[in-house]
Symmetry: none
Subunit: 401 residues, 2 copies
């Protein structure tokens, strides 16, 4: 995080308010028929007007050419160096289903698989059984007990589940059990560091008891464990920046990520309208708001260009309600691009705008990948967004005499 | 400083000449009435014509969102990493009144204050007494003697003075004495590192003798010491870049900063016209010239938009005289923005132009924040300006085979 020793004394408390709207997967690439991106095809009168008055640029989530997952993408937005702070796959999966993890707890991405009579894996995903079938099996696993370690098992979707371990001295420096091929047995868990012996032992016991519990099943008769990870300890955003940050997010994973960074999660509904309403209701209580908008990413991942255009237009339609609150700094950012043409996250620079009374208003014609490239902020690391936001909000003092 | 090991052998001597005009506090933000910045309101025929033929861009003094003081702002312009090299507040104050410091000397920002009969601070600034009253008190302090350490005291303005310590083994890792509140005694100076014991001891003795020397005063009966700092040892700009750099600056602080970086200070008068005349007279003797123009910052800090416009026009009017000298590289840069609307330094990117026979001339319409955003140099760290200047002047060889 932008927690440079030299800046320690520079973050200052002030009554001003900052709103960061994060449209997940915001950027795109041009459709081959029109040579226009989703942002360029969408009718975005409110974002366009806002961009005109704002400081604009393109953000690089991690490094040019690096496609971020949701974890690193969001860490960067709040000033955490995504190459330094890591949120493991198991933890992210747990946050994604709304589990509340505590420091020192280990989360694991598990899935059911099929083994033959000799214990060799014949199907790594047990034929992707539906959740209705896997949920009762999860309840069976959830009742497993291991001395000295608490555990719980939570269904995710289809053949996937989350295993959480609780106890003293857990350590995630252990290998996964998925052999990544069939015809071989699952790996044993081995410690990769001296301190990880207890965790490896607990996971091996869990696997053994899971095998027993599932032995009568035809297909789902074994488990594979991946993404074994500790909830990381991140510096608290509020403490470092002297903010009382709040997160408003309809999707559980983003609430979880925000909590790991030390934000207070404000309960909200399932739509962006709900989120904006929650922003309005809680506006007096906080000085920093992260508002997460998921549909731009979801439609992009679906590869549905016109659905992403519509998702952008829905996002745009509520910008006036946000502006009515008159935040001192209003930003529109993305954690990464999710071009519909790729149907997945990408490495492209992401459009960004920041509006405050101190912005130049460089007259950017429309909020898009192309126009933001001409903005005064240039193409810059997402990790530096918070420094800009804090300065524009008069919360970051001069550096050096 | 851009003193990368890999570039060591690449800086080469050549007869070409580089002129860097630094308009202090160059950038601004738009006036709410006109939505135009100071640069956009000013009539700048010469800068506009120069920008048309130049490579243009915006420079980031330190990091996006970081507002630099004058020290870090200038260090960056000459390629010194402002997060690595630090010029302390005491040193800057000493340079600001024209003191010549040597390596190993300590400079302290002092001020008179009022303490009551129990030694508790009742007024941290002794009611901001005028310089006429504080100067005789400074002479009294100047006569204080401490065994093993030389010292001198110099009036600054109002209640402020500079204390300089000279001697072997001085170290600035000590705390300040200003308690930042009234009703408590000043802090003792304590060493924050084992090597700083001698300095702490000398400063405590100075404070004790100052208290005795001032005991009959009603208001100015004590001193507070802040910004205790050693003159840092910076690599010499001339040695690293193989230049014979000269500084032409009407204001003492910028002469002092230039000296710390290893430039020769050429005596000059008090106006920009004097500075340009000095440039002309000394043009044969050096291959690099830093010419500092203060009024753009001073008017910005005063919050006087139209005065800053006039200061820019005055700066513009002498551009033809500089161009007549036909420097191989001519740059116009700023150490930071000082928007009149903020009336202080800011974090905004700063307009920059570089003109040489090798510049594209991207046809920038006018020299301003908005137009420079579209230049070929993009928005880039000020610390990289020197690399551009040296290459355009044929003083930086190819990197790698």
């Amino acid at each position: 995080m932008i927690d440079l020793e030299v800046l320690r004394g520079s973050y200052t408390k002030s009554p001003s308010k900052i709103v960061m709207l994060v449209a997940d997967g915001l950027g795109g690439v041009p459709h081959p028929d029109t040579r226009k991106t989703e942002l360029e095809m969408a009718h975005l009168p409110n974002l366009d007007a806002l961009a005109w008055e704002s400081a604009c640029g393109l953000t690089i989530p991690i490094l040019p050419g690096i496609t971020p997952g949701s974890g690193p993408g969001h860490l960067a937005l709040f000033g955490y160096d995504p190459l330094k702070y890591f949120i493991g796959r198991g933890v992210l999966e747990a946050l994604g289903i709304g589990l509340e993890l505590r420091r020192g707890e280990i989360a694991v991405r598990g899935n059911f698989c099929t083994v033959d009579g000799k214990g060799l894996v014949t199907n790594r995903r047990a034929g992707r059984i539906p959740t209705e079938q896997s949920a009762p099996l999860c309840r069976r696993l959830d009742s497993i007990q291991i001395p000295g370690v608490g555990l719980s098992v939570h269904p995710v979707k289809d053949h996937r589940f989350v295993l959480v371990l609780r106890g003293e001295g857990l350590d995630d420096r252990v290998n996964e059990t998925d052999p990544q091929q069939t015809g071989v047995p699952p790996f044993e868990v081995s410690p990769q560091a001296a301190e990880a012996g207890k965790t490896a032992d607990a996971l091996n016991r869990f696997v053994e008891k899971a095998r027993e519990a599932l032995q009568d099943e035809e297909r789902d008769n074994m488990v594979l464990l991946r993404g074994i990870s500790l909830l990381p300890h991140l510096p608290s955003m509020g403490e470092v920046y002297k903010l009382t940050p709040a997160a408003i997010a309809a999707y559980p994973m983003y609430r979880g990520l925000a909590q790991v960074m030390g934000m207070r999660v404000v309960p909200t509904g399932s739509t962006f309208k709900d989120e904006v309403e929650t922003l309005r209701e809680s506006f007096d209580e906080h000085d920093f708001f992260f508002v997460h908008y998921k549909p731009t990413d979801a439609t992009g991942e679906d590869g549905d260009f016109s659905a992403k255009v519509k998702a952008l237009e829905e996002f745009d339609s509520l910008i006036p309600e946000v502006r009515e609150l008159k935040p001192d700094v209003l930003m529109v950012a993305g954690d990464h691009a999710t071009p519909s043409l790729l149907a997945r996250h990408s490495w492209h620079p992401v459009p960004f705008l920041l509006h405050s009374r101190w912005t130049l208003g460089e007259g950017i014609e429309g909020f898009s990948e192309r126009s933001c490239a001409g903005g005064s902020l240039g193409t810059f690391p997402a990790m530096q967004i918070m420094l800009l936001a804090l300065s524009h909000a008069d919360k970051l003092a001069k550096f050096g005499p």
